[in-house]
């Protein structure tokens, strides 16, 4: 090594003896070891999804089952008691019974109950007088309009069911043979919100891994100075990016498999499509998610800023604008337009299709195409903004 410069000039050192493939493989192996050894990656990729699934599977429900109400019996005739028992046995209500209104009023104010059903003192009289509209009073808590309308509609339902039963018992035919509406819901017959929340939450989880985790690990490399050391080697920007994409792509798919397993086996969410379709849409979604993560990391070089950007541009839109919880159809027009560029939107609807309806490729393929297009846009921007420079 007496003549290092000459050796260098002769191209001995600059000659790339191992291929770019070798460098990429080394980067992937490194990233893999880091993921396995870093408890926080495992947390985000596997523990958090399970917690999130449990939260959406058990905790959050958009169904109003067993709403707590108070039932005021100001009439104690057999007819009134029959109606009361209809309320008490209704699967929609969790009713407590009292003879006075006052105690329930206090409960309603304190939100211990969601509504009050009053059977008035003249109820039996008016019912027996053939007045089918014998009034019951329903008081609902208007501060929660959703629940209030549940209470109102369910009370209406209990009332009309009871009326029909009474009519049958009395041998009277049901009201003049008019139209009877029988609703039938497709794809999710029980209207269980879990069935569409759980597939939707898979999209949230994949956003976390693809965007948040990727942005964070790259920011961490900047913070710790490992990126600087690596930049000063012959490795290229493209190789660095691929070295990040591949491991987190695989991690995302692994998390997706875990989520699907939990959703189907534990929560009994129907899975009507094929694994192939699920794999296709997940892989397609990981493109924009990872691309966004890389783009964030090109701008934000510390973990705090990276996580903030990832939360606001990745996580929140995936949560609020993807149709996961709030239906896109009922959003204001402007917001609806914004959702067009939220990749999670296409993923959520595709996931719901695959889980609840099946492999409807005519729906899935356009979504896949849009996700890939958004992903390509992100990758292009990320590659353009990531340079082998520090300043």
């Amino acid at each position: 090594m007496t003549d290092l410069v000459a050796k260098h000039e002769a191209g001995d050192l600059s000659q790339v003896r191992t291929s770019a493939g070798g460098r990429i493989r080394a980067l992937i192996v490194k990233e893999g070891l880091q993921i396995v050894r870093d408890p926080s990656s495992i947390m985000i990729a596997f523990v958090l999804p399970v917690i999130l699934l449990f939260l959406f599977g058990y905790g959050v429900s958009l169904d109003a089952n067993r709403v707590k109400v108070g039932l005021v019996m100001q009439d104690t005739s057999p007819v009134a008691r029959s109606l009361a028992s209809a309320f008490i046995h209704s699967p929609f209500f969790d009713a407590r019974v009292d003879h006075a209104l006052a105690p329930f009023e206090a409960d309603l104010v304190a939100s211990r109950i969601r509504g009050i059903v009053v059977i008035p003192p003249d109820f039996a009289e008016r019912y027996q007088a053939g007045d089918d509209t014998a009034p019951i009073q329903v008081i609902a808590d208007g501060s929660q309009p959703n629940t209030a309308s549940f209470v109102q509609n369910y009370a209406q339902g209990v009332w009309s069911t009871w009326l029909r039963q009474q009519a049958v018992q009395m041998g009277r035919s049901a009201e003049g043979g008019g139209l009877v509406l029988e609703a039938r819901f497709w794809f999710n017959p029980e209207l269980t919100s879990r069935n569409f929340l759980v597939p939707g939450s898979v999209a949230i989880i994949m956003t976390m891994i693809g965007t948040l985790l990727t942005a964070l690990v790259i920011a961490r490399e900047w913070e710790r100075g490992t990126m600087e050391a690596m930049m000063a080697t012959p490795v290229s920007v493209g190789e660095l990016l691929v070295g990040k994409i591949v491991p987190y792509f695989l991690l995302g798919l692994a998390a997706m498999a875990l989520c699907t397993g939990v959703a189907v086996l534990l929560f009994g969410v129907p899975f009507r499509g094929s694994m192939l379709a699920l794999l296709a849409i997940s892989a397609a979604f990981l493109c924009p998610a990872l691309g966004q993560g890389l783009l964030i990391s090109a701008v934000a070089k510390n973990q705090f800023v990276a996580s903030q950007i990832a939360l606001f541009t990745g996580f929140l839109p995936a949560m609020l604008l993807s149709g996961f919880i709030f239906e896109i159809g009922s959003m204001p027009t402007v917001i609806r337009w914004i959702t067009v560029i939220v990749p999670a939107r296409y993923f959520v609807s595709s996931l719901q299709t695959v889980f609840l309806a099946g492999d409807i490729w005519s729906l899935l393929l356009p979504s896949i195409a849009v996700m890939l297009a958004i992903g390509a846009g992100f990758f292009l921007l990320a590659a353009r903004n990531t340079r082998k420079r520090i300043d």
Partner: protein, 586 residues
């Protein structure tokens, strides 16, 4: 191939935002086959210089050519030819030593066939063979730097760039690291070694001395030191009052610089214009000094020459010490700071074991030791930030376990790297800290004004703390720590990485405060700082392995082959002694 130009800077300027440029019109060459020291305090532009060489930054003006390639247009041709060790440990802490080596072997394109031989050579060279399976994060500071060096040397590059490789490394590893790098230059490699330690600069083959983005000197450090030759003296024969002697000496019109060195005072005289050869004479000194005091000529150090270029130090008067009231003598003769058998365990790791010392009023006591030795743990236990597992600490007569609040009221604390609020102005910081220490409204106003006047903040008093020049940051940090006129002052690495002028000014204030009766406890890994202490406790692996004045420690390791040991020599010898006796016990 020594003498080949590896790096050429041609009027290079680099700016970051507003303010003076980080590097200002630098022209310099770095040649093969030697260690070029890139020397300067924090913020001088060292890291920017190295990053410009790597091609990871490009200059705003001028050009940088490395190995014959321009960094702005042809950075890709440079990467294969350089080994770079960034300031922060650039390796993966959750990868093992071997895995890090594998990664860099691949990134640097080392053919698989050559790997076993190269790994073997590098591991032997860095003495890391026994640790290949250990995670890099679990290595000591010195071992981390050696691993970083090994990864940078994977392909034996013609140019090796080391950004502050000796920071956070104990003096023993620092010497080993130096020896390794020295060996490499023998093979023709060109090395850039950046450092804020001026004693390291002295050993380099060539030096680029940077200060505030300007190149002050380029050449052989010995030729720089030569300019101070015959002008550097020690006032010896002082047993007492060395701080007062220093102040007196600095007041002499022909003395441009002075520091305390153990029991002696080191002074640099101005260059004589008239060319007179007569040696300078000692001015009249305070009577208590005695009659033994005399001037003895000593060989100049790099730092003496650096101060000479900068035009001398800040003088010996502390406006602060002149304005504050002397500390009232409380209970007579009782030590102000006392540690009795302080022990701290974190799980099964003992960070500090049975630390005992006591500091009388008006003494500067230093805790000296490598990073991770237990200095900070001891320090934190004594200012009530950490509860000891065993033992007790007292400050100003208050037991820290029972009366931590009262004790804290009587101590001032200056954290490492100025823990001030960067977005608040200097005045707002002062206001805030006076409030924290519970000063009354009127006294608060008085003290804030006093500090602003004393430290000469002037218009800067409304500048955000983070935008203050380094020297003013240091002043502000000190002002915030002493506004409530504490009896005891705790300083955590107060001047590491700081330029020598700011460091002298700081110690002038501290010396002034000590003369007024303030007691100081200081942690440091910095030998120059330790020289200011009256006594030092050497902390190593959680234990006190030696206590004494800097001169006592030096005398303890004096040997025929080492007649005039430095404090660093003493440190190394005492640590080795401790390692040896531990082995015997085991």
């Amino acid at each position: 191939m020594s003498g080949d130009t590896l790096i050429r800077f041609n009027r290079v300027t680099k700016r970051f935002g507003e303010g003076p440029p980080a590097l200002d019109a630098i022209s310099a060459d770095v040649t093969a086959g030697r260690i070029t020291g890139l020397v300067g305090p924090d913020g001088a532009g060292k890291t920017t210089f190295i990053r410009l060489v790597t091609g990871l930054m490009v200059p705003d003006e001028g050009g940088v050519s490395v190995l014959g390639h321009d960094t702005a247009t042809d950075a890709a041709s440079i990467f294969p030819g350089i080994g770079y060790m960034p300031q922060r440990f650039g390796l993966y802490e959750d990868l093992s030593v071997q895995e890090n080596l594998n990664l860099y072997a691949e990134l640097r394109g080392l053919p698989a066939g050559e790997r076993p031989a190269v790994f073997d050579r590098l591991l032997r060279f860095t003495d890391l063979q026994r640790f290949t399976g250990r995670l890099a994060g679990r290595l000591s500071g010195g071992m981390k730097q050696k691993l970083g060096l090994a990864c940078a040397l994977m392909r034996t590059p013609p140019l090796l760039l080391l950004d502050e490789p000796s920071v956070g490394v104990d003096p023993i590893s620092r010497r080993e690291l130096w020896a390794m790098v020295k060996e490499l230059t023998g093979g023709g490699m060109g090395v850039v070694w950046s450092t804020a330690y001026l004693d390291e600069a002295q050993r380099c083959d060539s030096v680029l001395l940077l200060n505030q983005g300007r190149l002050l000197f380029d050449g052989d450090p010995r030729s720089l030191m030569k300019r101070a030759e015959g002008r550097v003296f020690q006032v010896r024969g002082l047993d007492w009052k060395r701080r007062a002697v220093l102040a007196r000496m600095l007041a002499q019109p022909d003395v441009i610089d002075g520091v305390i060195q153990g029991r002696h005072v080191r002074v640099v005289y101005k260059e004589r214009v008239d060319g007179a050869e007569n040696p300078p004479v000692l001015p009249p000194l305070p009577e208590e000094v005695g009659t033994q005091a005399h001037l003895a000529p000593v060989p100049p150090r790099f730092e003496d020459a650096f101060m000479d270029i900068l035009g001398g130090g800040p003088g010996g008067r502390s406006a602060l010490a002149e304005r504050i009231a002397p500390v009232e003598q409380s209970a007579g003769g009782e030590p102000v700071i006392e540690a009795r058998g302080l022990t701290k365990r974190f799980g099964d790791f003992t960070a500090a074991r049975d630390i005992t010392f006591s500091i009388p009023r008006g003494e500067i006591f230093g805790l000296l030791g490598p990073n991770g030795a237990g200095k900070s743990t001891t320090f934190k236990m004594l200012c009530g930030l950490l509860a000891p597992t065993e033992g007790a600490g007292r400050v100003a007569g208050f037991d820290l376990r029972r009366a931590a609040a009262q004790a804290r009221q009587r101590l001032g604390y200056m954290a490492q790297k100025f823990s001030l609020y960067g977005d608040l102005s200097a005045r707002q910081n002062l206001d805030f800290f006076s409030g924290v220490y519970g000063l009354g409204r009127r006294r608060r106003r008085e003290q804030v004004e006093l500090m602003i006047r004393t430290f000469d903040f002037g218009r800067l008093s409304d500048t955000a703390a983070k935008d203050l020049p380094l020297g003013f940051k240091q002043r502000l940090a000190l002002a915030c720590a002493i506004m409530h006129e504490p009896e005891a002052l705790f300083l955590d690495e107060p001047t590491s990485g700081v330029d020598p002028i700011t460091r002298r000014e700081f110690w002038t204030h501290i010396n002034g405060l000590v003369e007024k009766g303030v007691t100081v406890l200081v942690t440091t890994h910095f030998m120059d700082e330790a020289e200011y202490c009256d006594r030092i406790a050497l902390i190593y692996r959680g234990r006190t392995i030696a206590t004494g004045s800097p001169d006592e420690l030096k005398e303890r390791v004096q040997r025929p082959d080492l007649p005039d040991p430095t404090l660093e020599d003493a440190f190394i010898a005492l640590v080795e002694e401790s390692d040896l006796s531990e082995q015997e016990v085991a």
